[in-house]
């Protein structure tokens, strides 16, 4: 699936948002856009002690993903962290209140 991102109309920079001004050129012409949800795993951890809001969901895996489009996204990984490795190809599979969940990319 695609990921909702912000695109700067002035310089073309993509940003995971939310953001008021473009991080590269400080233009306020940021428009909602989409980027392909494919990328590579930067790192991960299993959260076993969660903050109040997510308490019922623990344990869960948080993943940092570098999208092929160049952006870094902090999201979830579907399932356990067994067999995860750095640079594992992943893709977004679902979204919940702005947070994306990734899974290993089907080969």
């Amino acid at each position: 699936m695609h990921i909702k991102v912000l695109r700067c109309e002035s310089c073309g920079t993509l940003d995971p948002g939310p953001r008021d001004l473009c991080a590269a050129c400080q233009s306020d012409k940021l428009v909602l856009s989409e980027a392909p949800g494919a990328g590579a795993l930067v790192s991960w951890t299993t959260i076993r002690r969660a903050p109040t809001r997510f308490k019922g969901q623990a344990p869960y895996v948080v993943a940092v993903v570098k999208l092929d489009a160049g952006l870094i996204i902090t999201g979830r990984f579907s399932g356990t962290e067994e067999n995860l490795r750095l640079d594992l190809p992943v893709e977004a599979v679902s979204e919940d209140e702005g947070a994306y969940t990734f899974a290993e990319k089907a080969s």
């Binding site: 940003d15 995971p16 948002g17 939310p18 991080a23 930067v42 790192s43 991960w44 951890t45 299993t46 959260i47 076993r48 002690r49 969660a50 903050p51 109040t52 809001r53 997510f54 308490k55 969901q57 869960y60 948080v62 940092v64 952006l71 870094i72 996204i73 902090t74 999201g75 979830r76 962290e81 750095l86 209140e97 702005g98 947070a99």
Partner: protein, 387 residues
């Protein structure tokens, strides 16, 4: 800018202070600092108070004015500063600037936090206020989790092992046993650490600092006040503060904090020294792996060698570069707003030659305080006055 001296220090023990109000903790530490200095409290021209989450956790704000009132200071500017876990270090820097600039001849920096009464989920949620909660926060990431992410990469890139990280825990826990202010000094070995429960893989319970109550305070004066002092002062050689990215998407590398790297470079330049001139370091080991990353970011250990230095004992007292002789956050505790000032308190004792875990011939000390996802950092360099 004028030369600034640390003229008085005060601290409560770090740990559990269930029966004492947050402002009373701060007043105890600050009153001790004022009395030790010999300076008349009416000469204090400004107060900066470092605190992070007194609102959510204790329901009390306006702490700076409350504390000044309780101390019997004049009707001076009193300001609370907040920079997550770096709040104390930022309060110190503002007090330093107030004196260095000539705005006043004496200024007080106080830091305080009260956390132990709250349950873990509430505390975790309050601490998560230091994250960008419209981006990273919605994933369910926590601060231990951030360091779990960093650890995975450090281990992969540099071969940093569980035993190397455990050496940091064992060292700091043992250092804390010697420090009467420390919350949880202990003798813990690698096996015991490995048996403690996982918090955020690969971080286990012993890899995480405790939640703590506590306060620390420092009275700063202009160098021309030296003859009036009742205490043995320490000179401030440098006080630097920087900003890093507020969110993970802005960190090109999760294995280093650019705010630390830049603050250290600025502080070394201001002091006219290099990392090799530093005799000991009190740094921000909120988690075991953080100490390894911080030693590399501060330039006191070559990049990628933080784990090796720890396991070889090179960061112990008596080693090449003693790190956290106080026990650090892991063992002394982390009352968030007080931590940065507590580090300076410990360093002043070292430079006076009065520390319970004394580094031999300590002449120059460095303190490092990091907030949020590396969004705020302070680095201070302090010097024994005859050095």
């Amino acid at each position: 800018m004028r030369q600034v001296l640390i003229a008085g220090i005060g601290s409560t023990p770090f740990g559990r202070h269930s029966e004492i109000a947050i402002q009373s903790l701060a007043i105890r530490a600050a009153d001790a600092a004022i009395r030790e200095s010999g300076i008349d409290r009416k000469q204090v021209g400004a107060l900066y108070l470092g605190n992070f989450v007194s609102g959510p956790l204790t329901g009390q704000e306006v702490l700076a004015g409350l504390v000044a009132d309780g101390l019997g200071l004049g009707q001076i500017p009193c300001t609370k500063v907040e920079g997550a876990c770096a709040s104390g270090g930022i309060a110190f820097r503002h007090a330093y600037l107030a004196v260095a600039s000539g705005m006043c001849d004496a200024a007080l920096a106080v830091g305080v936090e009260k956390m132990t009464h709250a349950d873990t989920a509430t505390t975790t949620a309050a601490l998560n206020c230091a994250m960008d909660n419209r981006s990273d926060g919605i994933s369910g990431l926590t601060f231990p989790g951030l360091f779990g992410l960093a650890w995975q990469i450090h281990a992969e890139r540099y071969g940093t092992s569980r035993d190397q990280v455990s050496a940091v825990v064992s060292k700091n826990k043992a250092n804390g046993l010697l420090n009467p202010l420390a919350q949880m000094g202990a003798n813990v070995g690698a096996d015991q650490i490995l048996q403690s429960p996982l918090i955020c893989d690969p971080l286990r319970l012993y890899d995480c600092c405790p939640t703590s109550d506590g306060a620390a305070a420092l009275l700063l004066v202009a160098a021309d006040k030296r003859a009036e002092l009742a205490s043995s002062p320490v000179a401030v050689m440098a006080s630097a503060q920087t900003r890093g990215s507020a969110r993970i998407a802005g960190h090109p590398d999760l294995c280093t904090f650019d705010a630390t790297v830049m603050a250290a470079q600025a502080a070394y330049a201001q002091a006219g020294i290099s990392a090799k001139d530093v005799d000991f370091v009190e740094l921000h080991d909120c988690f075991s792996i953080a100490e390894i990353i911080d030693t590399e970011d501060l330039g006191i250990v070559p990049r990628g060698h933080g784990g090796g230095y720890a396991l070889e004992g090179r960061t112990r007292v008596g080693g090449d570069i003693p790190v956290n002789p106080s026990g650090g956050l892991l063992s002394k505790g982390h009352p968030v707003g007080a931590t940065g000032l507590g580090q300076i308190y410990e360093s002043v004792l070292q430079l006076r030659g009065q520390h319970p875990n004394q580094v031999r011939d300590a002449a120059i000390g460095l303190t490092h305080n990091l907030g949020g996802t590396g969004v705020a950092c302070t680095v201070n360099i302090l010097k024994r006055i005859d050095a």
